[in-house]
């Protein structure tokens, strides 16, 4: 009993110590947490939207940006307490304190931001009109956790590294950095489909863009209005939905495989010769999975639809199919009904125990059963 009690106390202490250790795992040299550590920190905007400015230190300490001082991104903060924020964070700013270890220059997401700007999705941080519907960096990217499934780097690894590297914090930092990149942290196909669908399935957004494009005389992609629903109806969409990992998701075709991680940021219309879905590149794109794909194969529609505006051929073919199919059924059943009537009239009838035979007198002029 006494031993168990001691162990419980020890365990409790360990938990407390571990928690306290994590609470301030990153350096808050700028003293932002002085205010932002309070859970109630927030306000209700003029539009009635509730905003939370609470930073959970223990969670932030596990994110990829944990070593970036707040004001490297929130550069407009100049005094404490600061003025109301109007511009917000842009992702193409240069870090003041983090250097790119490869080039020695200040670290920045600028290269990928520039690619994004060139893509169909490209927009400014503060955007209006049509651009406001496009995703900015933070619509897809949050500040991700290094290793969501681990509370702390595994001791047996860190213990080994610190033998030479001496500094436990240094080791933990590099463990997080490298292990995240070794693990597959790419979004799953299901996540990609649902991410793209979060905008592309929005009927109002689609309508807004279609009417705007019509007014401007611009041409939208042929599949733009039905991209998500037709994908969900396709074989790719169906099997992805139920957990297949081999079938194509949106980005497998719409992003170039040559430099996938850059390419997902620079999605291009299929008119663009650099697009993997350009008529010239399409067969090659299909070939990545369908190894025998050729130009003919690339003509098959991965976004099948029976909507009149999407595919009139299929629309009318389906209509004819329905008419013929239902007509055949009605005719056959009608024929069976008529036959039943005719033979019943002739004296055939049903009996539960004896089955069906000529048990009745015929409705014709004479009863011909002897």
């Amino acid at each position: 009993m006494g031993t168990l009690f001691k162990w419980c106390i020890a365990g409790l202490l360990c938990l407390l110590a571990g928690h306290a250790g994590l609470t301030f795992a990153f350096e808050d040299d700028e003293a932002c947490l002085m205010c932002h550590k309070y859970p109630k920190m927030g306000r209700v905007t003029e539009d009635g939207v509730q905003k939370t400015y609470y930073v959970i230190p223990s969670v932030f300490a596990k994110t990829v940006h944990r070593n970036v001082p707040c004001r490297d991104c929130h550069s407009y903060i100049r005094e404490l307490p600061h003025k109301p924020v109007t511009e917000g964070v842009t992702c193409n700013a240069e870090c003041h304190s983090i250097k790119n270890p490869a080039t020695g220059k200040p670290f920045s997401h600028k290269p990928i931001y520039d690619a994004f700007k060139q893509s169909v999705h490209g927009r400014e941080k503060i955007a209006s009109g049509e651009d406001a519907d496009k995703p900015y960096c933070v619509n897809c990217h949050t500040n991700p956790l290094y290793n969501a499934k681990e509370t702390a780097p595994p001791k047996y690894i860190v213990d080994r590294c610190v033998v030479c590297h001496e500094d436990r914090k240094f080791v933990e930092k590099w463990y997080d950095h490298t292990s995240r990149r070794i693990r597959e942290v790419k979004r799953s196909s299901q996540e990609i489909v649902s991410l793209c669908s979060s905008c592309h399935a929005d009927r109002q957004m689609l309508d807004r863009h279609q009417s705007a494009a019509k007014e401007a005389g611009r041409e939208l992609g042929r599949k733009f209005p039905i991209a998500v629903e037709s994908y969900n109806g396709s074989f790719h969409g169906k099997v992805i939905k139920y957990g297949n990992v081999d079938a194509a998701n949106c980005l497998d075709c719409h992003a170039s495989a040559v430099n996938y991680y850059l390419s997902v940021h620079e999605l291009l219309p299929s008119r663009d010769p650099r697009s993997p879905l350009n008529a010239e590149n399409k067969a090659q794109t299909c070939k990545r999975c369908h190894v025998r794909a050729d130009k003919n194969y690339a003509a098959l529609d991965p976004h099948p639809t029976s909507k009149k505006e999407g595919n009139p051929f299929r629309h009318y073919a389906e209509m004819i199919y329905s008419i013929v199919g239902n007509g055949v059924l009605v005719l056959l059943v009608g024929m069976a009904g008529f036959e039943t009537f005719g033979r019943w009239r002739d004296g055939a009838s049903w009996r539960f125990r004896d089955g069906s035979s000529w048990w009745r007198r015929t409705r014709r002029t004479s009863n011909r059963i002897l």
């Binding site: 389906e318 125990r353 004896d354 089955g355 035979s357 000529w358």
Partner: protein
């Protein structure tokens, strides 16, 4: 005029009949599916 079925024949015949009638209910459901979900 038919002779009567033996008991096991009755069982088989009506069992088969019950099976296809059950499936016919499924057929009705299939019609409903076709009409509502295309």
């Amino acid at each position: 005029m038919k002779t009567r079925l033996k008991p096991w024949q009755q069982t088989l015949a009506f069992g088969s009949l019950a099976f296809v009638l059950g499936w016919t209910v499924f057929g009705l459901y299939a019609i409903w599916l076709m009409l509502t979900q295309g």
